[in-house]
Amino acid sequence: MIVKDLNILKNFNVLYIEDDVQLLTHTKDVLEDFVNNIFAVETTKEALNILSNKKIDVIISDILLQDDNGIDFLNYLKKEKDIQIPTILTTAHTDTKYLLDAIKLKVENYIVKPINIKELLNSLHDVLLPFTQQKEIQKNINIIKMIGAVTDSKQVDVIKYLINNLNNDNLINTSYSEIMSEISISKPTLIKLFKELSEKNILVKTAHKTYKFDENALDNI
């Protein structure tokens, strides 16, 4: 099993709905070490209140609540309120009826009580990972853009071109003239760039007009 980086949870706010007070407090006590904020409530009414005031990234809800039903509540949120927040359901029922409803609702996960905390954390991680990755990608794009702004932006363009045109075997068929027709760069600069890359084993010429990109070489710089 891949060890999941649970640190990513630190950036998120969790709304936890459970009608059993004991379980609510104990679970909250465990979860609050992992997440940014946990809002633990007993009823859907309180949950709605929290949702309207706070930024919530993920909802953990029991199916059977006092005077209410978690699935109905989620339906209400998605259909009526148009609030699309990823959800994890917990229940003591291994009932297929609930399972089917949950699938129809497109909930992200479904955990059977008694709650295994690791399972819960893993499923939180799985739910929140795309958001983290989205943030990471955005960050990297920003980094590249900033580097391009302060260095020779032509070289950055060439590297972008090379990465974008790699095939599945990390090979690229290209020539100086091809690159020069795409990007307005002087030939000496281009040759110099290629030389540097091949010295560091990042881009090695394997045949005529064919270069191989070695990803591992990047770590050894």
């Binding site: 379980l23 465990v30 003591a92």
Partner: protein, 515 residues
């Protein structure tokens, strides 16, 4: 041999036909007797008529003829001879006598010629019964007599026509001879009459014999058949007596067997009841286990969460003594609760065959406590209305069992109802003089009238795919009626609450004596 055969044959005919035969024989016999007697009387009457018409009249005529010759002829001749009367007068008298005699004779002949018409019917009968044998009938003799008389008459008439005193002797002689002939004819006629009389006698005898025979025949057959029919009756009677005896025996046996069978059946039904009790126990045990499972799930979840929290806190290095203290306290509290729950259910399953005094309120509340989880799950409220607590001397667990059954049924009725109405179970306890009346109501829509009479029958269930055993209410009835000497009834009522107009309610009425 033959007669016995006939009797056997008659014996074997069905009763109906025997009676028919009897009626036929009696009527036939009667008819034949009537006909024969009619024939005999007719024949006798006929005979008399004939004797008079055919025989007596001619005899009178012949006698008159004789007299004419005796008195008018002979005496007149004699008178003339002695000169007692004048010749002229005598001649006139003789003339008259001649006319008279002619007249009589002609009449007689006419009579003879016009043979008296014999009745056709009678003739047939006579032909059937007797062959005519006329001992005296002699046509030749008759013929000669007639011709002789004719001749003599002619002679006498001649003499009278040319009468003179010389012919006196001849007339006298002729007249005497004619008298002799007439006498012979009379005799002959008489004899023939005797013949006919004998015929009639014979016919009469035959008829008499036949009627006697038919009477005897009818008599014998009637008696025979009557005896046979009576025998038939006797046989029938005997058969019926036998049948009745057999049936009575059977009935007696059946009665004897019935007692035994009833005993066996009672034993069997006791066994069945025991088995049912067992099943009911198992069924409610299942329910209870379900309840325990539900009631344990939550604290278990919490406890497992507490244990895991130690682990995670350790990883983060946040495991402080204070944290451990609070968590352990919580965990112990939870475990304690679980243990209490277990005790509750355990008490429920210990059989209590000993009567004990207990608070009714406690019992009701305890029953609701045991099914708390299910009621909460389906969001069913319950209210208990009683003015003051009542102490009952009886079986605590039995009553609790009954209440749990009722609660469970209400839950089944209410669980599928839409959540817009208030689902509720109401218990109203009223204290009467010697008993407690407990009303148990739910607004689960009532019980359909088709089912209502059957709900207390064993193995009768309406629950889908036999989720029910059909024993719950039967057992409840047994417990209330047999063990507690009370009664349990059920009916549909209108919902007494104002908030729901059209949802029916089911009402169970339990009456439990204090003792």
């Amino acid at each position: 041999m033959k007669s016995t055969n006939i009797i056997d044959f008659i014996d074997n005919i069905t009763f109906k036909y025997k009676t028919y035969i009897l009626i036929f024989i009696i009527t036939g016999g009667m008819l034949s007797i009537i006909i024969l007697s009619q024939i005999s009387t007719y024949a006798i009457k006929n005979d008399y008529e004939r004797l008079f018409e055919k025989r007596t009249k001619p005899l009178i005529l012949l006698e008159s003829l004789k007299d004419v010759y005796e008195i008018n002829v002979l005496d007149t001749i004699y008178d003339i001879k002695n000169n007692n009367i004048s010749f002229e007068n005598g001649k006139e008298v003789l003339e008259l006598a001649k006319n008279l005699s002619n007249n009589y004779w002609n009449q007689y002949k006419q009579n003879r010629n016009s043979e008296f018409e014999n009745n056709f019917f009678l003739q047939i009968i006579k032909k059937l019964f007797i062959e005519k044998n006329y001992e005296y009938k002699n046509e030749v003799l008759l013929e000669s007599l007639m011709t002789n008389i004719d001749k003599k008459m002619e002679h006498i008439n001649n003499y009278i026509n040319y009468f003179d005193l010389n012919s006196y002797n001849e007339v006298k002689y002729e007249t005497n001879s004619i008298k002799i002939y007439i006498t012979s004819l009379i005799n002959y006629d008489l004899k023939v009459t005797i013949d006919e009389k004998r015929d009639t006698n014979r016919l009469f005898n035959y008829i008499f014999l036949f009627s006697i025979l038919s009477i005897v025949f009818v008599f014998i057959f009637s008696i025979l058949l009557s005896i046979i029919i009576i025998n038939n009756f006797k046989k029938l009677h005997k058969l019926l007596e036998l049948k009745v005896e057999r049936k009575t025996k059977e009935l007696m046996e059946l009665n004897d067997n019935l007692e035994k069978r009833i005993e066996i059946e009672v034993k069997n039904s006791r066994k069945k009841d025991l088995i049912m009790f067992q099943q009911a126990k198992l069924a409610s045990m299942g329910e209870m286990l379900n309840n325990i499972a539900h009631q344990w799930r939550q604290p278990l979840g919490s406890i497992s969460m507490i244990i895991q929290s130690f682990q995670t806190k350790m990883e983060f290095g946040k495991l402080t003594p204070e944290f451990v203290d609070t968590k352990v306290k919580d965990a112990l509290l939870l475990a304690d609760n679980m243990s209490t729950t277990l005790d509750d259910f355990k008490n429920f399953f210990t059989p209590d065959n000993i009567k004990s005094k207990f608070s009714l309120k406690n019992c009701i509340e305890h029953s609701f406590e045991l099914s708390k989880y299910v009621l909460e799950k389906y969001n069913i409220h319950h209210t208990i209305e009683m003015k003051k607590d009542i102490v009952i001397d009886g079986f605590y667990n039995g009553l609790s069992h009954v209440l749990l059954n009722l609660i469970n049924n209400s839950k089944d009725a209410l669980m599928d109802k839409d959540c817009c109405l208030v689902k509720e179970i109401r218990i109203v306890v009223i204290q009467a003089r010697k008993k407690v009346i407990l009303h148990f109501m739910d607004n689960g829509g009532g019980i359909s009238d088709k089912i209502l009479p059957k709900i207390f029958e064993p193995y009768y269930t309406t629950k889908y795919k036999s989720a029910g055993t059909g024993i719950g209410l039967y057992m409840s009835k047994q417990i209330i009626e047999k063990h507690m000497n009370g009664s349990i009834k059920c009916k549909n009522i209108k919902n007494p609450r104002p908030n729901c107009d059209n949802c029916k309610s089911t009402l169970f009425i339990l009456e439990i004596p204090f003792q």
